[in-house]
């Protein structure tokens, strides 16, 4: 535990120090917030893009994950197959998923060829105005994760509780709303929080499937870090600080909510 804190703390301290100009690669250290202010417009746009992608991916992943969990909990048959598929999806690296999504959804990709829609009329899913491809790839992979977590937490309890509800005269929709949903809420909330924070920090998916500008915070941070001008390091560090701060903020806001839903019981 102390080792984790030590390593993470040192890394964070180094990034914050670089963003404030205290650890320059060339030249004398000088305290300044130029790293943050010189790119404030870009930072703003990048933050919006990150939040949009993460929110959309989380909502879609939660909906898809809950649907899968509902189907599994309700039928009880084919559970092993669904869990097996979900586990397989979880093990696929995001990089591979992003590459596959690019090949599938691009203007001349598989989906376009199968659908017969001409390439010029194909919607701009990859690298377009809205991050469709990025969100879809993240949602696809993370929904498997959400489904596995929810199924694991709901487990066998649901069968017994559903019987009770059915005996008391509840129709299937009420069974879902009054029994399954509250039962899976803690797991759904906590896994959604994890998916949101992860999506804020994703690099390779946005790099491959997103547009050149505006780009999410991690992509912008890496571009600035590898800039030929070593004076761009403080700007890169500032972007990383903003991304980390955002993730911490989301965690701080979300954790009490999750706890209230009973996740730590």
């Amino acid at each position: 535990m102390l080792l984790i804190l030590g390593v993470t703390g040192t890394a964070l301290a180094a990034v914050v120090a670089t963003s404030l100009g205290l650890l320059p690669l060339v030249g004398r250290p000088r305290l300044s917030i130029a790293g943050f202010t010189s790119l404030s417009g870009d930072l703003h746009a990048a933050t919006q893009e990150s939040l949009l992608t993460a929110a959309a991916a989380t909502m879609l992943a939660a909906v898809m994950g809950l649907t899968i969990a509902t189907l599994v909990a309700r039928s009880g048959r084919g559970v092993r197959l669904v869990i097996g598929l979900a586990a397989a999806v979880v093990t696929v690296p995001h990089l591979v998923g992003a590459g596959a999504t690019g090949l599938l959804l691009s203007d001349v990709g598989l989906a376009q060829r199968w659908s017969g829609i001409p390439a010029a009329a194909w919607p701009e899913l990859v690298g377009g105005r809205w991050p469709w491809a990025t969100v879809l790839e993240l949602a696809w992979k993370e929904s498997a994760f959400v489904a596995l977590v929810v199924i694991a937490s709901v487990g066998r309890q649901y069968a017994a509780l559903r019987e009770v509800a059915a005996v008391l005269g509840a129709p299937p929709r009420a069974q879902w709303r009054r029994v399954l949903l509250p039962l899976s809420a803690p797991a759904l909330a906590s896994s959604s929080l994890i998916v949101f924070v992860y999506s804020l920090g994703t690099y390779e998916v946005a790099r491959l499937l997103g547009r050149a500008y505006p780009e999410p915070l991690p992509v912008m941070a890496y571009r600035l870090f590898t800039d030929i001008d070593v004076a761009a390091r403080p700007q890169a560090a500032a972007t990383a600080v903003v991304a980390t701060g955002l993730a911490l903020l989301v965690a701080v806001i979300g954790l009490p909510l999750v706890r209230r839903l009973g996740a730590d019981r």
Binding site: L2, L3, L5, G6, V7, G9, T10, A13, A14, A17, L22, L23, L25, V26, R28, P29, S38, L39, S40, G41, D42, H44, A45, D107, V108, A119, A120, E124, G127, G128, R129, R207, R211, A212, Y213, P214, R223, T226, D227, I228, D229, V230
Partner: protein
């Protein structure tokens, strides 16, 4: 008592590590003269291992180094190890970090570098200098060759040895382009006449960056009108026309210029899939292979421009923190030999143009170059490099890239 103290030891050690890492770079500058003779250097090099850090995404390049250069180096008593990196900037990060730490036995002995990366290293005093003149094979390089004495406007000063030359080339699909344009302004006009069929990679990608500089040469009336070193006044005077031309053509580009391919690989993919009819590259010799294996359409051709295109050279540099500098010098000399340069120039091997002046070679060596296979797609190097324009200084690259992002891409400040 004992476990409690031990628990504080680790965080204290980590904090100490952090504190020492925060020290300002106080290590001595890279050595600026090489006083030993070549035979002394080769003697010391015997038995050393050289770590050559180079871009690892080029299959042909990797094969050349592994199968041709490494055995040749082994014959000289030097073990050559190729370290692939995704981007030379990764090697630069390592070199700069070792420089900051004052390391003398660094992991990087030799690095394939040019332009902005070389300038960054020079800015940080990270290169070993004054050694390239000691290489015996340097006598085959023309002494007044501007592409070799200046690296993107930065004076080389013996801090790196030349390795290849490159020529920026536009490439088009002759089946889809009926009347190929003959100048850069013609290319932009063609793009306007054929909406959605042309685009270029977004700077700071290397290829996109040089395309923007080519357009700058065109809108400024030639490279002679632009000061080679960055000048704010010249920038303010010349760039409005540049941004005007690029913004003017933007609505006719692929995706109406709302977005640009992120790098040259993405643009090549668009070209290969038929979404655009032109692409661009710094390495036209690879086109022959790309057409032969079916990646690019068989009707692919090189588009020569009347005013010529930008050419440059790339080099092998030795960091000041290198652990095996003598063997690195031996490898650099070997890479510069006529035998290696001619093998490397064969498109089937790697297709990299030579830095040697063939007029300085003897008869048999010159014949090696004359006998290189010809290609339908790519004209021979002396035709391709006719009217080669020099690069601007790397101090221009960053302002132009940033300016493009602001003016054309619409990035805020």
């Amino acid at each position: 008592m004992y476990p409690r103290r031990a628990r504080l030891l680790l965080p204290a050690a980590l904090l100490g590590l952090a504190a020492s890492a925060c020290a300002a770079p106080g290590s001595p500058a890279g050595s600026t003269t090489e006083n030993r003779s070549w035979s002394q250097i080769t003697n010391q090099a015997n038995g050393q291992t050289v770590d050559l850090w180079m871009y690892g995404g080029d299959q042909q390049g990797n094969a050349y180094v592994d199968e041709v250069l490494t055995p040749a180096a082994a014959k000289l008593g030097v073990t050559l190890r190729r370290v692939p990196v995704a981007d030379t900037k990764d090697a630069m990060t390592r070199i700069l970090a070792e420089r900051q730490a004052g390391s003398k036995d660094g992991a990087v002995d030799l690095v394939w570098v040019n332009g902005d990366n070389f300038a960054t290293g020079k800015q940080a005093d990270a290169w070993r200098c004054g050694w390239s003149s000691k290489l015996p094979n340097m006598k085959f390089v023309a002494p007044n060759d501007v592409l070799v004495t200046q690296d993107f406007g930065a004076s080389v000063d013996g801090c790196e040895a030349p390795w290849h030359k490159a020529q920026f080339t536009l490439v088009y699909n002759s089946a889809r382009v009926a009347t190929p344009p003959t100048s850069m302004s013609g290319v932009l006009q063609w793009a306007k006449d054929h909406p959605g069929r042309f685009t270029y990679p977004a700077p700071p990608d290397f290829t996109g960056s040089v395309f923007v500089r080519e357009v700058l040469y065109s809108t400024s009336g030639g490279y002679a009108k632009i000061p080679s070193q960055f000048d704010q006044g010249a920038y303010a005077m010349l760039t409005p026309k540049l941004w005007g031309a690029l913004k003017d053509v933007a609505p006719s580009l692929w995706r109406q210029g709302r977005t640009y391919p992120r790098d040259s690989v993405a643009l090549d993919r668009l070209y290969a899939e038929g979404e655009v009819d032109m692409t661009m590259t710094y390495g036209p010799a690879t086109l022959t292979k790309l057409v032969a294996d079916g990646t690019f359409p068989a009707t692919t051709r090189v588009l020569p421009l009347d005013e010529g295109t930008i050419g440059n050279a790339s080099f092998l540099a030795i960091p000041s923190s290198a652990g095996d500098p003598e063997s690195a010098m031996v490898v650099a000399n070997l890479a510069l030999s006529p035998a290696q340069q001619s093998i490397k120039a064969d498109p089937d091997t790697w297709g990299q143009f030579t830095v040697l002046d063939t007029h300085l070679l003897n008869q048999s060596d010159r014949a090696r170059f004359d006998n290189l296979p010809a290609s339908d797609v790519v004209p021979p190097y002396d035709v391709l490099s006719r009217n080669a324009n020099p690069e601007l200084a790397s101090s221009w690259v960053h302002p132009l890239d940033e300016g493009w992002r602001r003016a054309v891409l619409g990035s805020g400040s």
